[in-house]
């Protein structure tokens, strides 16, 4: 496993996402209110590109006919079959234990730290005053 | 409605006006009466599977009737059997005392509307044979209707062509509640065959189309079903007019049977009004809808509407035309109209004769 510097945090403002390829793997990075999360961009069902799905909340119900809306912006729906995944964990809503897309730990670090290493920065130009998104792959 | 004390009806047949009764219901005494004309394959089929229709009950009506067999309690033949099953008793109770000069037989439970298309055709054919053998050949006042398996047009047309030209058959019979509205093209081959045979098409209320009696679902009570036939028949007649069968078959004549008639003027007005606005949708129509109605459609009278004051009915008939109504009793059913009481109005002799007899003779082409 190695740590990869993906982009400045300012590239992915809160509520947005971006797709990267790291070690040949497509990884989608999401910014939820300043926290960053990464998941393999492949739906475990049939391989749909999750990053192209819609970010939604979760409609829940404790009783038929009652609707509660929770976790606004924290769920990604596969653009093909609409399966719902928790951006924070990669778990599917319907069957969280068995159906999940791989989650990758994401961190942020200051430019100064990053320049110290040991990170794989690939093509990202680094600046001391910036913060960077780091993923372990 | 029936509160007024009426004159005692005339008792002497000879002194009474001869009438046509355009809706008489003959019945089989027992199911096996049809056996002579039903191939063994279908007798066995009926014994095993019955005659399934598009309703849940194996036999009998969807809505329980008001009286057994929906018939007058005084109409059981003395020799036994159900009401309407004895020619002798029908003659004695109805044809002779009411001076019926022309009686049109409309058999119900005749194989029409059975789900199995070939069974429907086979039973209809047997019923037609039975009408001749049991009724019209025994009493020349009676004329028969060709019952046809109308949900299968090619079979129905074949049955019409089989009987075309037979003196005892004066119309083709449909039931009103069909699988699709009556103007639909699936039925056109039947109208074509009827027009070709110069036979009017009678549409008798009832039937087994599988759709609820109202457009808003199944009501709860028999009274709602009975009242509902008027709405159902308006829908059927609108369909025939708007889909253009009278343009396609200019010789076609249609008789609405046992659906009442007082709804006809308002329906005509509504059709005309809507068509004036919407006629781009139906460019195949060349005249006002009411004009087709006026020219191609007749109504039997029973169950007569009974407004108060009674004279309002004169307006209705005036709007429809005195040549459009064909008197009918619905014998032996419980909602029978007695000719002595059915039209207690001051009208001209011509009107009376047309209403009770001449209109029927004209439409059926049956002379004096």
């Amino acid at each position: 496993m190695s740590r990869h510097v993906l982009a400045p945090t300012s590239d992915i403002p809160p509520g947005s996402r971006k797709l990267f390829t790291v070690k040949g793997r497509p990884i989608a990075i999401f910014n939820l209110e300043g926290d960053f999360f990464g998941m393999l961009n492949r739906c475990p069902h049939q391989g749909g590109s999750l990053c192209e799905g819609v970010v939604t909340g979760l409609v829940l119900s404790s009783n038929p006919g009652e609707y509660t809306y929770a976790r606004k912006g924290e769920i990604i729906r596969c653009p093909w079959h609409g399966w719902e995944f928790d951006i924070r964990t990669g778990q599917s809503y319907c069957d969280p234990e068995r159906i999940r897309t791989k989650a990758y730990p994401v961190d942020t670090a200051s430019g100064a730290t990053v320049i110290e290493g040991p990170y794989v920065a690939e093509t990202v130009p680094l600046q001391v005053e910036e913060n960077y998104i780091i993923v372990d792959v | 409605m029936n509160l007024q004390i009426r004159d005692t009806p005339a008792t002497q047949t000879s002194s009474r006006l001869a009438i046509a009764d355009c809706d008489i219901h003959p019945a089989v005494r027992k199911a096996s009466d049809l056996d002579p004309w039903l191939p063994a394959r279908w007798r066995e089929h009926l014994a095993s599977f019955g005659g399934g229709r598009r309703l849940g009950m194996q036999s009998g009506p969807a809505y329980p009737k008001g009286q057994p067999n929906a018939s007058r309690r005084d109409a059981y033949p003395p020799e036994g059997g159900r009401q309407g099953s004895s020619l002798a008793f029908m003659q004695a109770q109805h044809l002779d005392p009411n001076n019926v000069a022309l009686g049109i037989l409309n058999p119900l439970k005749s194989g029409q509307g059975l789900a199995n298309p070939e069974l429907s055709a086979a039973v209809c054919h047997a019923v037609n044979e039975w009408q001749v053998a049991t009724w019209t050949s025994q009493d020349s006042r009676l004329k028969a209707s060709i019952v046809v398996p109308y949900e299968n047009a090619s079979m129905a047309a074949a049955e019409i062509r089989h009987w075309a030209g037979h003196q005892d058959f004066v119309q083709v019979l449909f039931l009103s509640r069909t699988a699709e509205p009556l103007g639909n093209r699936r039925y056109w081959p039947i109208y074509e065959a009827a027009a070709e045979a110069r036979l009017p098409v009678a549409v008798h209320a009832f039937g087994y189309g599988g759709a609820p009696i109202t457009s808003t679902g199944w009501p709860s009570y028999y009274i709602e079903e009975m009242t509902g036939h008027a709405q159902s028949c308006q829908a059927g007649l609108s369909s025939m007019i708007v889909e253009g069968i009278f343009e396609q078959f200019p010789q076609l004549r249609v008789i609405m049977v046992e659906a009442g008639f007082a709804w006809a003027p308002a329906l005509g007005w509504r059709l005309d009004k809507a068509w004036r606005t919407l006629r781009a949708e139906t460019p195949h129509l060349k005249q006002l809808p009411s004009a087709y109605m006026r020219r191609h459609v007749w109504w039997t009278t029973q169950p007569m509407e009974e407004p108060e004051p009674r004279e309002h009915l004169l307006d209705t008939i005036g709007w429809m035309g005195w040549d459009r109504l064909l008197f009918a009793t619905d014998y032996p059913h419980w909602d029978f109209d007695d000719p002595a009481y059915a039209l207690p109005l001051r009208i001209t002799d011509d009107q009376r004769r047309g209403f009770f007899l001449d209109n029927a003779r004209a439409v059926y082409g049956v002379g004096a």
């Binding site: 409609v59 009783n63 006919g65 319907c94 | 399934g52 849940g56 036999s59 679902g217 709860s220 009570y221």
Partner: protein, 354 residues
């Protein structure tokens, strides 16, 4: 077969005729029925003489099959050795349009059942026929009959005016749950809708085959509407459904649940889980190929040995002789189907069986 303690979960006594019900009706209805000349309420779901309606050796010369206690004992209870048999009366009460008339007929059918059969053979139990035309009246009838522990289930038909999951029907489920009564859904229709989703067929055979599709639709509805979320202990028993359609149906329903869960957010368990906890199916007919190997595979597809409940479907002609249990089932599974599963399903059965 003759398995000690077997519980036959689906037999069909016939109401001998309309006259048999009159003693169980109040004067008003007795007179109305006579004055109006009402026929017996016989549904086209089982034409009187169709080969399926009664096995040849269970078809009397005169009268109806399974219409007397003696017939039922001689042809069904004694030879199969069942400890208990549950009577599901398929009289056409559900076909009626008048809610009040339907309620009167339902009361009469249940009254007849208790007096003519349950009182006279301790092996018999029955399902409550309800006037589903009016949910309040149906609940009243459940409350009335539930006082008698020999009524062990509420009986509904596979096709009616609306899908059974609709909330309008939930008071029925509340009453059933209150009294530990499973809901038995039996093949049949009130024919207020066409018997298939594509219209009216020409033949009876199509109608009967289509019953399996009706059960599939009802299972979809019960799951999607969340009936078991609200009534987690409620059991639904699909009676005379053919049952081999179940695995394939669950595959499809589960697939769509994964994609459309947000439409029915209360659906928090997979359809297969819900079926395993809440739905049971009677054994006859078993719509399977004749080879035991295929049947084994189908059973494996069920992924549970708790779903099937033994039934003869007497007097319907589903098998010959004593072959009520299809060949090839393991003895352990036969024991589950015939004894353990019915006992686990019908809570009220155990109150009397001990």
């Amino acid at each position: 077969m003759n398995i000690p303690g077997a519980i036959d979960c689906d037999i069909h006594p016939s109401i001998p005729g309309l006259d048999a019900l009159l003693p169980y009706m109040p004067d008003t209805w007795r007179e109305i029925i006579q004055i109006r000349g009402i026929d017996g309420l016989n549904s086209i779901s089982y034409p009187a003489r169709s080969p399926l309606t009664a096995r040849p050796d269970w078809s009397p010369e005169k009268g109806k099959p399974a219409a007397t206690l003696a017939q039922i004992q001689r042809e069904c209870l004694d030879p199969f050795g069942s400890a208990i048999a549950i009577c599901n009366c398929l009289y056409g009460v559900q076909l009626l349009f008048s809610e009040d008339m339907a309620a009167a007929f339902a009361r009469a059918v249940n009254g007849w059942m208790a007096a003519e059969l349950l009182d006279r053979d301790p092996r018999l139990r029955a399902s409550i026929v309800v006037p589903i035309q009016n949910v309040e009246l149906a609940v009243d009838e459940i409350e009335r009959c539930a006082q008698d522990p020999r009524f062990v289930q509420v009986l509904l038909l596979a096709s009616g005016d609306h899908p059974l999951g609709k909330r309008m029907y939930w008071p029925i489920y509340a009453a059933a749950a209150r009294h530990k009564l499973p809901i038995g859904i039996h093949a049949g229709s009130n024919y207020h809708n066409p018997p298939t989703a594509v219209g009216w067929p020409s033949y009876y055979t199509e109608d009967y085959v289509a019953q399996a599709q009706a059960f599939q639709s009802q299972l979809t509805s019960l799951f999607c509407e969340g009936v078991f979320n609200r009534y987690p202990d409620l059991k639904v028993v699909l009676l005379e459904s053919g049952w081999t359609w179940l695995p394939a149906h669950l595959w499809r329903l589960t697939k769509y649940w994964r994609g459309l869960r947000m439409e029915i957010p209360w659906a928090d368990r997979s359809p297969a889980d819900v079926v395993r906890s809440n739905v049971r199916l009677s054994l006859q007919p078993t719509d399977a190929p004749p080879d035991a190997a295929s049947l084994q595979r189908i059973i494996e597809h069920l992924q549970s040995d708790e779903l099937l409940l033994f039934s003869t479907d007497y007097p319907h002609w589903q098998f010959d002789g004593m072959a009520a249990i299809p060949a090839g089932l393991s003895p352990a599974l036969v024991r589950k189907i015939t004894v353990d599963n019915p006992r686990a399903t019908y809570a009220r059965l155990m109150e009397l069986v001990r």
